[in-house]
């Protein structure tokens, strides 16, 4: 590495990168900064990035001003159940599609793949009517769980991974007398940790950040998820910027923690979905 000099090209690259990083980061920094200010100080210009008297009180007030705790609990509950069901049923179904031969396999798989291309927004209306008129599930968490937990995408993602596991492994296990359920549980599932992690992070982020689903289904305040709850709060207290920003920071933290700890799998997931279509 003797050629580690700063050439003009490198300097230009760093300049652009730092500029882009600022564009990406400054809104977040501003958010944190504003969350520690009085409403009247939020818009002082030039921006006071580090408040002289940080108002930590905002972070206490948000819990009493809005039922933020309830919203977080609701969202966490829905997200955990959806992620669990998604992982379980997707990996289960994907095993059959990847490793078993049966009648109607191709037709079923085409049905699955076909619906990935159909935007949810084009059938959200009859889906809501069905949930409301037939299952009487409007304004319940169960409705959100039902419509998120059985995605074709999960099945597809897991199947792609299982295909890369050699069939001989399953054959050997069959000769050893294992049945299919045992092979799935003790061979395939442990092997598919990377794919499971990818699916976990996708499902987690999507469910946690989902907006339109809860907006359509959940009407009672104490049933709302964090996204529509925060949105409600923002429209009610539109001038209390300090509080809005404090609540926004609290909402961002769980997703950022999950993202930073599972970043590797996230990036891999996008890369594979990109390469295999």
């Amino acid at each position: 590495m003797a050629t580690h000099r700063l050439r003009p090209g490198k300097i230009l690259i760093y300049f652009i990168l730092i500029l882009l990083a600022l564009i990406m980061l400054l809104p977040f920094v501003w958010m944190i900064s504003a969350s520690l200010k009085l409403d009247k100080d939020v818009f002082t210009f030039p921006i006071e990035w580090i408040p002289k008297n940080p108002r930590w009180q905002n972070y206490l007030d948000i819990w009493t001003e809005i039922p933020l705790g309830t919203f977080i609990f609701n969202t966490a509950k829905i997200t955990l159940i959806v992620t669990f069901l998604q992982l379980l049923t997707s990996s289960f179904a994907a095993y059959a599609f990847a490793k078993l031969n049966f009648k109607g396999k191709n037709v079923l798989f085409i049905v699955y793949i076909g619906t990935i291309a159909i935007p949810w927004q084009s059938y959200m209306v009859p889906q809501f009517i069905m949930m409301r008129n037939i299952f009487h599930l409007n304004d319940t968490h169960l409705a959100i769980i039902c419509l998120q937990a059985f995605s074709a995408f999960g099945v597809f993602l897991m199947r792609q991974f299982y295909l890369s596991v050699p069939d001989e492994l399953c054959e050997a296990a069959r000769i050893d007398g294992m049945n299919e359920y045992q092979i799935y549980w003790s061979i395939m599932l442990p092997l598919s940790k990377p794919a499971l992690s990818t699916l976990t992070i996708f499902t987690f982020v999507n469910t946690w950040n989902d907006f339109l689903g809860p907006l359509i289904y959940l009407t009672t305040t104490n049933k709302k998820t964090i996204q529509i709850g925060l949105r409600m709060f923002i429209s009610q207290y539109s001038t209390e910027y300090g509080l809005i920003m404090a609540a926004s920071v609290v909402v961002l933290i769980p997703v950022l923690i999950v993202f930073l700890s599972l970043q590797k799998f996230f990036v891999q997931g996008i890369a594979t979905s990109g390469l295999k279509g």
Binding site: A117, P119, S122, M130
Partner: protein
């Protein structure tokens, strides 16, 4: 020979048993998928030929193609369609250019590469409601820091952003690029990993400079990634809703009304379910067209 017959019967029985085992694997997912996805999709098609307000008392009434004919007289639908297409036509190429440039920069051997990669992904994972609140504050026409800055550098009459009829769509597109470019940057990074380094060496030996290497090696090699990003982004833009709700609320007036926003209003505000489904079918056909183009392209690719 009886033994052979017995073997065939045994084999058949085993095959049948295997089929049932396979179904038992698929069932938990498929039952949920069929009830909550397949049936609503079929219902959506049926509903688009009916008139119904969704109540249990009034029954859906079959009205043939009336809903589809009404599309030609619904100026709000036409506005929404045009806005969606304009939004898509501008957002897609700009996001692609930004994401590609970012990916190329972050593919260099530079100090702090992982840090920059993580940063550029932040907006994508961040909750939309939270970051939209920040944007609305930053771009507040009267007191937001962006306009304050513009005034300080001598622009006495800065745009009203989301509240300005001429700037609302621009604000929406800017936000959309900022929010989503990180995702596509990762796809481009993956694509760049697949470019054979020997091609760059060969081009270098032929005396190509950086720009020429980019033009004659990187761009052609990234063809499949480019195409995939194009398809995914276009579909994502067609389906835009939540960004619009939070940044401009379809306004001012109907300046940024988009298709899904219109569907939502028709269905859940006016309870005009049949007509809302007909508009949904337009959205579906738009996405289907893009998907078919993708299928065709990939077919051509594999045939080559």
């Amino acid at each position: 020979m009886p033994t052979a017959d017995a073997r065939i019967i045994l084999k058949k029985r085993r095959k049948r048993r295997n089929t049932w085992i396979a179904y038992s694997f698929i069932a938990p997912n498929f039952i949920g998928f069929a009830i909550f996805t397949l049936i609503p999709i079929i219902m959506a098609v049926g509903l688009s030929f009916m008139k119904w307000n969704g109540s249990g008392i009034q029954k859906p009434k079959f009205i043939g193609l009336d809903n589809y004919l009404h599309l030609f007289y619904d100026s709000r639908f036409q506005e929404a369609l045009i806005n969606t297409i304009v939004y898509t036509a501008v957002t897609v190429p700009l996001t692609m250019i930004c994401a590609l440039l970012l990916a190329i920069l972050l593919n260099q051997k530079i100090f702090g590469r992982n840090f920059f990669r993580t940063i550029s992904f932040f907006p994508y994972v961040a909750s939309l409601v939270a970051v939209a609140a920040v944007w609305n504050a930053l771009f507040n026409p009267d007191k937001g820091p962006v306009n304050e800055l513009l005034r300080t550098i001598g622009i006495s009459n800065p745009p009203g952003w989301a509240a300005d009829p001429n700037w609302a769509m621009v604000t929406l597109i800017m936000f959309s690029i900022w929010k989503n470019m990180g995702y596509y940057m990762v796809m481009y990074l993956a694509g760049l990993q697949n470019v054979n380094p020997e091609l760059y060496e060969a081009a270098g030996l032929d005396g190509a400079n950086g720009v020429q290497k980019f033009r004659y090696v990187t761009i052609p090699q990234l063809g499949p990634t480019n195409f995939l990003v194009l398809v995914m982004l276009t579909i994502q833009c067609f389906k835009v809703y939540d960004i619009v709700l939070m940044i401009t609320n379809a306004g001012p007036g109907t300046k940024t009304l988009v298709l899904v926003f219109h569907i939502y209003n028709l269905a859940f505000k006016e309870w005009n379910l049949g007509y809302a489904s007909a508009v949904s079918m337009v959205l579906f056909l738009m996405v289907l067209a893009i998907t078919l183009i993708q299928f065709h392209y990939e077919h051509v690719k594999t045939a080559e």
